[in-house]
């Protein structure tokens, strides 16, 4: 039922209390709830990582036992991956922004959207229930260890299985919304790049997630009924599990990073007053990355015992995925060329994204090269590479989004100066934590090691000190965001994108009249003569 309030009352005030939120079908409220949820899980998993780093201040036991350490790195990985970063930007900002950006009143299946959120809550609860006998397998659940361990693998994997449905249904909702609900005149080549990125992400969610669901069911069957898919003692193949697992989990890497790339493509043009450079290249490279990402899972397994020929093929395809990524980086950079660049907090996070993601991408080249990966695989080099991509990339992208759409989401402004101080702390802290880990890995420090050789102590300590700066940065950022300073205009950044052409915060049904789009989303600057 809609009434006139849904067109003139802002979405935050249209209904109060728990029920008005938990039973809402408003994509913006769902987006905000996802943002809260992933925020809480991010803090939980971050605390685990701070304990892990503290433990590494000295070799041997510093504060926790080996078993607690194994549980903590599993908790950190599983919560960060399945509860924070996979739903992450797509579920929170995807939900909040896509209908606004395409000029729709909601996603196409609003009730399905609510069910997706409930499934996400249920899956998260199941996963966290396992804390009664916390799992020590690592977030990858490699067999046969995950069959053998006495910890609560079934609950965690069942939680991930349930979460998968949330991911699939959200993906379907976004894809159909973008096909069916785009405002008149909003052709595919005018669509904001965040939508393109979300589209590519949704494809991955719909096509890859079922595979991990099936795999985890097989694992549960193996633990519960003693079926022998993966256990060599029963004639199963443990490496088969890795194939199944990475067939999902590699595309999942792009489920995590693509929406963040979409954010960068939105933020940089606004603060450069320039159209995005190479719109088509960025849009198509999102799709290219999504497609190729299905064919590179084997690069997680170069030393697993899979055949040599397969390793060579996976290495080639892995390098093929590097190219569209490089294209994006230079397109973002060139967007600033001859622009009017404003270093807002959101822009700083986006620029840091470009730089850190470049490091993350380049260190991927080491790992893609077969002979080098033989040395670097399963060392801290991989840990550092992955965190440069996932924090330097996705989390910095998320932070950029939180700052950039803050006025739209909350109808308020935050203190830019304080936000920039928080950014500086986070940027410096992050690099002190993770850069030394590249060197540690190159020198042979294996990952998932409770204990380590004395020669690695200095670099481990440096990395731990970094977490303290990083932690202070996070806390200061939250403090700044929780203390708004005054109301926001409808369009404080003079953006031409649709979501800014409405009050802040938007009314529940967004548009009283569906707008007609006549220009590109990046219609900045004065037209100049250009070669084709």
């Amino acid at each position: 039922m809609t009434d006139h309030h849904d067109f003139d009352k802002n979405y935050l005030e249209n209904g109060k209390g728990f029920k008005s939120w938990f039973f809402t079908v408003d994509h913006k409220r769902l987006g905000v709830m996802y943002l809260w949820a992933i925020g809480v899980f991010f803090v939980l998993a971050a605390i685990a990582s701070f304990l892990i780093r503290f433990e590494h201040l000295s070799p041997g036991q510093t504060i926790i036992s080996a078993q607690t350490y194994n549980v903590l790195f599993t908790l950190h990985g599983a919560v960060m991956v399945f509860l924070f970063i996979v739903p992450g930007v797509a579920a929170s900002f995807g939900n909040f922004l896509i209908p606004l950006m395409i000029g729709a009143r909601d996603v196409i299946f609003p009730k399905l959207n609510l069910y997706s959120f409930w499934i996400y809550c249920a899956g998260s609860l199941i996963l966290l229930l396992s804390l009664a006998a916390p799992v020590d397998t690592g977030w990858t659940f490699y067999t046969p260890y995950s069959i053998d361990t006495g910890t609560n693998v079934i609950l965690v994997t069942f939680g991930v299985f349930v979460l998968g449905f949330s991911s699939i249904l959200t993906g379907i909702n976004f894809i159909v919304s973008m096909h069916k609900l785009r405002a008149p005149g909003l052709t595919w080549d005018r669509l904001p790049l965040f939508c393109w990125a979300a589209y590519a992400t949704s494809l991955l969610q719909v096509l890859a997630t079922p595979v991990v669901g099936i795999t985890l069911l097989l694992l549960i069957g193996e633990r519960y009924f003693g079926l022998g898919f993966f256990d060599p003692a029963k004639g199963g193949d443990p490496v088969l599990f890795q194939h199944f697992f990475w067939f999902y989990s590699h595309p999942a890497v792009y489920i995590m990073i693509l929406p963040a790339m979409g954010i960068i493509s939105e933020v940089i043009p606004v603060f450069s007053r320039k159209p995005i450079f190479g719109y088509k290249a960025i849009a198509y490279s999102s799709l290219a990355i999504a497609l190729i990402s299905f064919l590179v899972w084997g690069h997680h397994m170069f030393t697993s015992g899979q055949s040599k020929l397969i390793n060579i093929i996976f290495s080639v395809i892995t390098f093929a995925v590097a190219v569209p990524t490089a294209i994006k980086v230079f397109n973002w950079l060139w967007t600033m060329y001859k622009g009017s660049v404003e270093l807002s907090a959101a822009m700083l996070y986006s620029l840091a994204f470009i730089f850190l993601f470049t490091i993350g991408g380049l260190t991927g080249l080491f790992l893609g090269a077969l002979a080098a990966d033989v040395h670097l695989h399963d060392t801290y080099f991989v840990v550092a590479h992955m965190h440069y991509v996932m924090i330097g990339g996705t989390v910095f992208g998320l932070f950029s989004a939180i700052h950039f759409w803050y006025p739209k989401m909350w109808g308020k402004m935050f203190d830019e100066f304080k936000a920039k101080i928080a950014f500086t702390l986070i940027f410096i802290g992050f690099n002190i934590v993770f850069f030394p880990q590249f060197i540690l890995g190159t020198q042979g420090m294996p990952r998932r090691y409770f204990n380590y050789a004395p020669e690695f102590e200095t670099l481990h300590q440096l990395s731990t000190y970094g977490t303290w700066i990083l932690g202070v940065g996070f806390i200061y950022m939250l403090y700044t965001l929780f203390k708004p300073v005054g109301a926001a205009d409808a369009n404080p950044y003079r953006s031409v994108s649709l979501e800014w052409q409405m009050p802040s915060p938007p009314p529940t049904l967004n548009f009283k009249e569906i707008p007609t789009v006549t220009t590109s989303t990046y219609d900045y600057g004065t037209k100049v003569e250009q070669e084709a």
Binding site: D136, S272, I327, F355, T358, P446
Partner: protein
């Protein structure tokens, strides 16, 4: 501190050449991206809300440039990685084969002449070696940073590593596939020795081994064996519960087993536990512990076992 570890195999300098190549490419790219980023931010910084900007949407030449150059670099790195990987995975004819068995949380090595070692791998200098590896339980991974080689060890099939050591010395072996509570203590050493010494080691019998202990008190020998034979991975000496019971105050203690029987931990009990830890099945496994201890039959001489017992007596 050097950023690369010691290089002690023919494969190591090849891996290092790739690490150098990609490092140079990466540093140059980072400087380029960082420079452009800062240069654009400074040069085109916002001066007022009315700044005039050109609506440049694309540039075919530039975009082709930054498609083609990364493509060429990627192909180059792939070829380097492939060529050396191909050499590494192709076994040399007549290579010296050593069987490796991994189990939680130790490594054992069996040599062509029937010799066996535990957590200590002996290989001859400058001779191609091929490791034929299998796991008795979960996944493990055999990693020698100084040789730049790594390979997972699996339960249902053999996996292989080929290397030729080029430097005498003792190097670390790490397990790099997570395998449970003592994963980070699943350590071993590889000894690279000259041909002459290797022949001596190969033909040496247990008498030679015992000569090495000449003049040492038995409990001191036991203390050495405690770490060199890997007992340390599971048994603490400070009373902390590990995978196995602690050795602190162990001697003379009454032990209760998982079948409910009891026994005093005396010399014979300890010897039996070392040689037949879970045999008869689960007979002598202390209550509260899993039956995971490997048998040391053939890996310790009688006098070494005596030395370990003497050492246990001293831990109070």
């Amino acid at each position: 501190m050097d950023w690369l570890p010691t290089s002690a195999s023919t494969f190591a300098p090849q891996v290092d050449s790739i690490l150098w190549l990609v490092t140079i490419i990466s540093v140059v790219s980072c400087i380029l991206v960082g420079f452009l980023l800062i240069y654009f931010v400074v040069k085109y910084r916002k001066r007022s809300d009315n700044d005039q900007t050109p609506a440049i949407t694309h540039d075919s030449f530039l975009e082709t440039l930054w498609t083609v150059i990364p493509t060429i670099l990627c192909i180059l790195i792939f070829i380097y990685g492939y060529v050396y990987y191909d050499k590494y995975t192709t076994p040399t004819k007549g290579a010296y084969e050593i069987n490796v068995t991994a189990q939680r949380w130790s490594w054992s090595f069996a040599y062509p002449n029937g010799k066996k070692t535990f957590n200590e791998l002996y290989v001859p200098l400058n001779k191609p070696v091929r490791l034929v590896m299998q796991s008795k339980d979960v996944l493990h991974s055999f990693f020698v940073p100084a040789f730049r080689v790594k390979q997972d060890v699996i339960g249902n099939r053999y996996t292989f590593i080929n290397f030729t050591p080029t430097k005498e010395g003792v190097f670390d072996i790490y397990c790099t596939e997570y395998c449970g509570i003592s994963h980070s203590d699943m350590l071993a050493k590889v000894h690279v020795v000259s041909d002459v010494e290797y022949a001596k080691w190969e033909s040496g019998d247990s008498a030679d081994v015992e000569n090495a202990y000449a003049g040492m008190a038995p409990d001191k020998i036991g203390e050495q064996l405690y770490s060199s034979k890997g007992c340390v991975a599971c048994h603490s000496i400070d009373g902390a519960n590990g995978v196995g019971p602690s050795w602190k105050n162990l001697f003379g203690l009454e032990r209760e087993f998982i079948d409910g029987t009891k026994e005093i931990a005396d010399e014979n009990y300890i010897k039996t536990s070392i040689l037949y830890p879970v045999n008869p099945p689960q007979g002598k496994v202390v209550k509260g512990y899993a039956p995971v201890m490997p048998s040391y039959q053939g890996l310790l001489t009688d006098s070494e076992i005596t030395a370990i017992i003497e050492y246990i007596k001293t831990i109070k």
